[in-house]
C-alpha cells in the first residue's frame, strides 16, 4: 500500500509557531495549500486536541494532528511542518514537539493501510530528528520514503 499523498507544497520547514495551536494551524495551512483540505480543517484538528488532550503527540518530538473525515476534507493528504522552535503540546512524556504531521482522510476505514506505511517509516527512532533538521522538502520526502517528485 502507498503512503498517504504528500505534496511538495504541503511541506513547510522551520515554521514559526508560538504555541501548539499555531503549530497545528501551520500543518492545516500546508494541507490547504496542497489542495487536500479547506481552511476550516485546521480548527477541527485543534478541536480534537482541545477535546481529548495532547494524545496526538505519539512519539517524542512528533505530533500527528488530524480530525475525522468531513466536508472540509477534499482529498486524502499528509502535511509535514518542522518548527524553528519546538513547542510544548502539554504531553506528559513526548514534549516538546519539533515535527507536526497533518493528516486528512476521506473515510475512517480506508486510511489504515497507508497509515501503516507511515508507521513503517517512523519505526526508525532516528527519523524524527532527521526530519526536524531537513533543509529541503525533497529531503523530507526522501526521508519518508516518497519518490522524488510530487
Amino acid at each position: 500500500m502507498p503512503l498517504p499523498p504528500l505534496a511538495t507544497p504541503a511541506i513547510a520547514l522551520q515554521a514559526d509557531a508560538a504555541d501548539w495551536r499555531e503549530a497545528v494551524r501551520a500543518a492545516g495551512n500546508a494541507l490547504t495549500v496542497s489542495g487536500a483540505t479547506k481552511p476550516e480543517y485546521s480548527e477541527r484538528m485543534i478541536g480534537v486536541i482541545e477535546e481529548f488532550g495532547a494524545y496526538v503527540v505519539i512519539a517524542p518530538g512528533l505530533a500527528l494532528a488530524h480530525a475525522r473525515p468531513g466536508p472540509d476534507v477534499l482529498a486524502e493528504g499528509l502535511s509535514v511542518v518542522t518548527l524553528a522552535n519546538p513547542v510544548p503540546f502539554g504531553h506528559p512524556h513526548n514534549d516538546p514537539v519539533s515535527v507536526v504531521l497533518g493528516l486528512a482522510v476521506t473515510s475512517a476505514e480506508e486510511h489504515v493501510a497507508s497509515v501503516a506505511e507511515l508507521a513503517n517509516v517512523f519505526n526508525d527512532e532516528a527519523i524524527i530528528g532527521r526530519i526536524a533538521e531537513a533543509q529541503t522538502p525533497a529531503a523530507v520526502r526522501a526521508l519518508l520514503g516518497y519518490e522524488a517528485d510530487a
Partner: protein
C-alpha cells in the same frame, strides 16, 4: 483474544497503534484480533476485549468510558516503539 487501540477521533493515531500492536504480537508469537476505535465507541468496541491500548493522555477518559468492563488498560508512550508495546503486552498477557 481481542485487543482494541483507542484514540480520540478513531483515525490516524489509533491506526498506528493498531499496526504496531500487531507487529508486537508477531514478535511475541501471540495471536490476537487487534482493532481500532475512538473514545466515543470504546465501550461497545471493547465489550469483549482483554486489553485496551491507548495513550497516557487518554487513559482516564477510557477508564471512565468503559465503566464496569474488565479489560485491562495498557498505556503506550511512544506509538512507534514496538519494543515498548511488546514489553507491555507481554506483561499484561503473560
Amino acid at each position: 483474544m481481542r485487543i482494541v487501540a483507542v484514540c480520540g477521533a478513531g483515525i490516524g493515531t489509533s491506526a498506528i497503534l493498531q499496526v504496531n500492536a500487531q507487529r508486537a504480537l508477531e514478535r511475541l508469537g501471540l495471536e490476537a484480533d487487534v482493532s481500532a476505535s475512538d473514545l466515543a465507541s470504546v465501550s461497545t468496541a471493547a465489550a469483549d476485549a482483554q486489553v485496551i491500548l491507548t495513550s497516557t493522555e487518554l487513559a482516564d477518559q477510557v477508564r471512565a468510558a468503559i465503566g464496569r468492563n474488565f479489560a485491562e488498560i495498557v498505556v503506550v508512550q511512544n506509538y512507534f516503539d514496538v519494543d515498548e508495546i511488546a514489553g507491555k503486552l507481554q506483561t499484561s498477557l503473560g
